[in-house]
Amino acid sequence: MRNVAIVGIGHSRFGKRSDVNVAELAFESIKQAIEDAKIDKKQIQNVTLGSAGGWYEESLPAVIINEYAGFENVGTMRVEAACASGSAAVRSAYLSVASGEADITLAIGVEKMTEVDTLTSVELMGRAGSYLWEFENYGMTFPAYYALYAVSHMNKFGTTEEDLARVAVKAHHYASLNPLAHFQKEITIEKALNSQVVAWPLKLYDACPISDGSAAVVLASEDVARKMTDTPIWIRGIGLSSDSANLSKRGEYLGLEATVQSSRRAYSLARTSPGDIDVATCHDCFTIAELMAYEDLGLCEKGQGAKLVREGQTEIGGKIAVNPDGGLKAKGHPIGATGVSMMVEISKQLRHEAGKRQAPIKNGIGLVHNVGGTGHYCYVTVLSRSL
């Protein structure tokens, strides 16, 4: 297996992007990534798009985007792993290089979610479970799936609504330092606690917004990467796992087994452990998801997630900086873009290019945790500054 590095990164502004269609939105990141890698786009041998689709008019978005960006006769496909589609795209581009099929590949993540109205968006997300048994008769929604976990976690471990609000406050704080984030303003615990209940006990400020956005990374083999840049960011290991489609088949609703499994595989591949990680993006589509991620990734013991956020241990300067970009919660969560966006953020952090939200980098190791659906998929990627 060949070593593979991220050698170019691009990231659009996230938010309600009614100024662009899906191809124009993807182009913003593609252009940046290619310029950052200082290559000609003809050097890219294949393009993988991560996009869940359904929210916008194009049903073959990979070829739409390739045409718009001027990729001709390039190998391509779209991958879907729900909200982990972006990481799945990066894995595909990675395997192409790691196997020797290609030397330079591009992974793009994009979603244009605001082409449909909000309740249609709620419907599209609610259908992303086991359709007949969860949606047809019971109208489950994405917040409702996570609320089932929140109630169980609160009941078992004493996690409180204030604890969830703390995660939101942290996210909005860092988003206010990230010019590409959907939300640009800080919030207070009171504001979060007093927001509208969406799926009890989860409130509006416990949930990520519906966002448009894109991100892109150029990957290269070791030989090529070393010639291209002084700051390659190495992909040290990608662990992937999954769980049942139907939530009723899960265990205790205290955490996501797919996160446990995929992170253990990633740590093993990268020969690292949670204590070595300087900075992480955790999949905080809901505030409860971030607390469960701390536990499932092994950043703390099971049940101690709330304690970690109460003590500020996941802020910049704490034990480990989590979601210094604002996270899904406040940066936004354009579904297919999220995993690639996380790779971009960790690359910036490891390159010391994160500006006002730079975390201290000691070991040079970062983590990307990207969940699809309600733990249906999980992809965990370990990145590092050196091999």
């Binding site: 309740l119 419907e123 019971y138 109630v151």
Partner: protein, 143 residues
């Protein structure tokens, strides 16, 4: 065009699926008669809910139908306040996951209690219902 910056499509994509239930029609027929049953693999004994004709454990397709049972314990729950387009005329509904005495978990609406009155561990009873459109479904009722 209502707005120069966007073009509302003139074409609506309407998808209404005709879901195949041939291999589990016994479940729906029994439900319509008020009974809750599910599948048990005749090779390895695995009980599955939702019912499935092929065994996820040993991949054998031999199965028998057994009573699912109706006594359950509430594992977790939520109250869906913001409902999707196709449930837009519904009042908020409580959804819970109950663990049946005989094993499998079931996700369904919970009736007979407000969200404030519910706690994990509450005893529930699984009951058959028929929707206003004539579709059979099942709910938990708090004892």
């Amino acid at each position: 065009m209502s707005n120069e910056d966007s073009l509302p499509s003139r074409r609506t994509l309407s998808l209404r699926f005709n879901i195949a239930i041939s291999k589990t029609k016994e479940f729906w027929a029994a439900l319509r008669e008020g009974k809750l049953i599910t599948t048990k693999c005749t090779s390895c004994g695995k009980v599955t809910f939702p019912p499935q004709a092929d065994c996820p454990n040993c991949m054998s397709s031999g199965h028998e139908w057994i009573d699912l049972g109706t006594d359950a314990v509430l594992v977790t729950f939520t109250n869906v306040q913001i409902t999707p387009t196709s449930f837009v005329n519904h009042d908020p509904y409580i959804v819970g996951i109950g663990r049946l005495a005989d094993g499998p978990n079931v996700l369904a609406w919970v009736e007979g209690a407000t969200v404030e009155q519910l706690r994990p561990g509450d005893r529930l009873r699984l009951e058959a219902r028929v929707s206003p459109e004539g579709n059979p479904y099942y709910v938990f009722v708090k004892n």
